[in-house]
């Protein structure tokens, strides 16, 4: 089985990389992009029976820094 973890900076935390991407899109002529947020997608290959709670524990302990990041777990 697999799980996919999405890690994003929390709302309200300024994302300097996303801001640079937004600026670059404007330079390329793409108008109307009012915001860009950049995050991470982490795919995990897991032993059968691994629970979503276990994956959330992985997020809390390592995959996300919950001071600045939020995460979402997708069990596939």
């Amino acid at each position: 089985m697999k799980a996919r973890v999405h890690v994003m900076l929390k709302n309200g935390v300024l994302d300097p990389q996303g801001e640079a991407v937004r600026h670059a899109l404007g330079t390329l002529g793409f108008e109307g992009v009012s915001g860009v947020r950049q995050g991470k997608v982490i795919e995990l290959d897991l032993a059968d029976g691994t629970t979503e709670d276990t994956v959330k524990d992985m997020c809390e302990k390592l995959l996300a820094n919950t001071v600045i990041e939020s995460y979402q777990v997708e069990m596939l």
Binding site: V13, L14, P16, A20, L62, V67
Partner: protein, 222 residues
């Protein structure tokens, strides 16, 4: 004073740190990240700068899970001293020994230059060699030194006089110009600038000497 300097794969300021500590009079041993224990009589654990584990996932995140960091946390919980510089500061925030987090520099560029810092408090073993208000020049060399914390944490840090150094001209977007901060018991200091690169007149000046000498002085009195 007995000091241990942690060496991770990718550390590159570990020997500079050892030289600075020895120059101030410390007995220094290097400890490998896979070591699960520190020797019992270690007074200070120094977490050096560099790019531990290639900065994979987040700066300091993998290092913070290493066996030696479990021993570091236990050392601090026993009341031991710890100093984290640059990547070492990132490791200390990732272990939770210091609050907040270090993000990508606001200008997105790696910054490598000497910056002026204002000493905000002389009330700690690390800063008692300075006067509050002193301006010191330490080199910075980082890509992820943009300190952030929530409003409540910032209020606590300011209320408890735990901000040790502030940038006089903020190079990286850090919240409230914070360059370095202390733990609640004032025995853990994390800072992005490199005091260990400012201990020799021939290399980067000598403004960092007072930090190491002050620390050594603390143990000479004990």
């Amino acid at each position: 004073m007995r000091a241990a300097v942690i060496v991770f794969p990718g550390s590159n300021c570990d020997r500079d740190m050892a030289v600075a500590l020895k120059a101030a009079g410390a007995d220094v041993t290097m400890v490998w990240h896979k070591d699960a224990a520190l020797s019992d009589n270690v007074d200070l654990v120094a977490v050096p700068g560099g790019f531990s584990f290639g900065d994979y996932l987040r700066c300091g995140a993998i290092a913070a899970q290493s066996p030696i960091c479990k021993a570091l946390v236990a050392h601090v919980e026993r009341g031991g001293y710890a100093l984290g510089v640059c990547n070492g500061f990132q490791v200390l925030t990732e272990t939770g020994l210091l609050p907040g987090a270090l993000m990508r520099n606001a200008g997105l560029k790696f910054i490598c230059k000497t910056v002026d810092l204002k000493v905000e408090t002389s009330v700690s073993a690390f800063t008692e060699g300075y006067n509050a208000g002193d301006i010191v020049g330490f080199p910075v060399a980082h890509h992820d030194g943009n300190y952030t914390a929530d409003a409540e944490t910032l209020a606590t840090l300011e209320g408890e006089d735990r901000i040790a150094f502030r940038y006089t001209d903020n190079p990286n977007g850090s919240l409230a110009d914070i360059a370095g901060l202390l733990s609640e018991n004032r025995r853990v200091l994390g800072l992005m600038p490199h005091p260990e690169r400012a201990v020799d007149a021939g290399h980067g000046g000598t403004d960092g000497q007072a930090l190491f000498r002050g620390l050594l002085g603390q143990f000479a009195q004990a």
